[in-house]
């Protein structure tokens, strides 16, 4: 029994050590010191942001590629989902890898009057989590943030055009 306990402690120590190395060295691993879900999941869908529907978002499509954009659209999903299909002109802003994708965009995001954030749609919470981080970590004005709650599911259901590949 005592030998089993010693072995178990030794095994746990090795597991923790390897896990820490994974966190430090693996770029796709999640950071330990980041709160990825700042609010309990049952209240998160009631958010404080403006909503934008499919019709209004569609009307901005032609100006999303402008050099000096009036609207920025952020895709809070993973790189894999983004590369498969995203709203044309949307920027990859993976909520779980913000240092890589969101921080380089932060200054531009602060400058535009309308920032639309979306994820998969349905019960997906990542767009709301990202919008909260934009306000509280990146000083983006709350009034400029819009959530497209229907997300990619709604965009596809409406038969709107999509873009695939390349991180913007």
């Amino acid at each position: 029994m005592r030998d089993t306990l010693k072995q178990a402690l030794c095994f746990v120590a090795i597991s923790c050590g390897v896990s820490l190395l994974n966190v430090l060295l693996n770029p796709s691993a999640l950071a330990i010191n980041t709160n990825y879900a700042p609010v309990a999941s049952d209240v998160v869908l009631e958010h404080e942001f403006n909503n934008i529907d499919h019709q209004e978002l569609s009307s901005y499509i032609d100006i999303l590629m402008d050099e000096q954009p009036y609207v920025i659209v952020l895709d809070a999903r993973s790189k894999e989902d983004y590369e498969l299909a995203h709203i044309p002109g949307a920027h990859l802003a993976d909520h779980y890898h913000q240092q890589q994708y969101v921080e380089p965009l932060a200054e531009a995001i602060r400058m535009v009057p309308i920032v639309v954030v979306y994820c998969k749609g349905g019960d997906c919470e990542d767009s709301i989590f990202l919008a909260r981080d934009l306000v509280y970590k990146h000083a983006v004005p709350l009034e400029s943030l819009y959530i497209y709650e229907g997300g990619m599911n709604d965009w596809n259901t409406n038969g709107s055009p999509v873009q695939s590949g390349g991180v913007r």
Partner: protein, 151 residues
């Protein structure tokens, strides 16, 4: 018949490795699945994030230990404990969903975060029970050949 213990060890190790790799490849999906259990208080996100990294690595290391014999009993004890904790968490969440939706236990399915996507929970609990027996067998059965007694 004498190869059965070895087959059980290798079978358990293969299952644990496949679960571990599936979770390690998509840590975000695993984080979202674990979050659903609300096992950690909201301020303990550091422990939650560390668990997302540590659980699949523990599964892979446990598989290696069970297959090679290194720290076999310790690895089996930790894996058995994890299986008991997570199976209990799955059951508690199942009862919550059943109370909310009125679904029958045998019809209930969701992504339990076990590394195999959405599953029928009744089958998952049965499978985890079998896996637990397999882990205990692989870890605590005496595999060393017995020397003949001189008495």
């Amino acid at each position: 018949m004498s190869r059965l213990p070895l087959l059980i060890r290798l079978g358990v190790a293969t299952i644990l490795v496949s679960y571990g790799f599936e979770k390690i490849q998509d840590p975000v999906a695993f984080l979202k699945a674990i979050r659903e259990y609300e096992m950690f208080p909201s301020g303990w996100y550091g422990l939650l994030n560390f668990s997302v990294s540590a659980i699949p690595i523990t599964e892979i290391l446990a598989a290696l230990c069970l297959a090679t014999g290194f720290l076999r009993r310790g690895a089996a004890a930790v894996t058995a404990l994890l299986l008991i904790v997570f199976s209990s968490a799955i059951l508690i969440r199942s009862f919550d969903i059943m109370a909310e939706t009125g679904q029958k236990f045998t019809e209930l399915s969701f992504d339990c975060g076990c590394g195999s996507g959405e599953v029928i929970i009744f089958e998952k609990i049965l499978f985890n029970t079998a896996l637990l027996i397999g882990v205990i067998h692989a870890g605590f059965r005496n595999h060393a050949p017995q020397l003949p007694s001189n008495n």
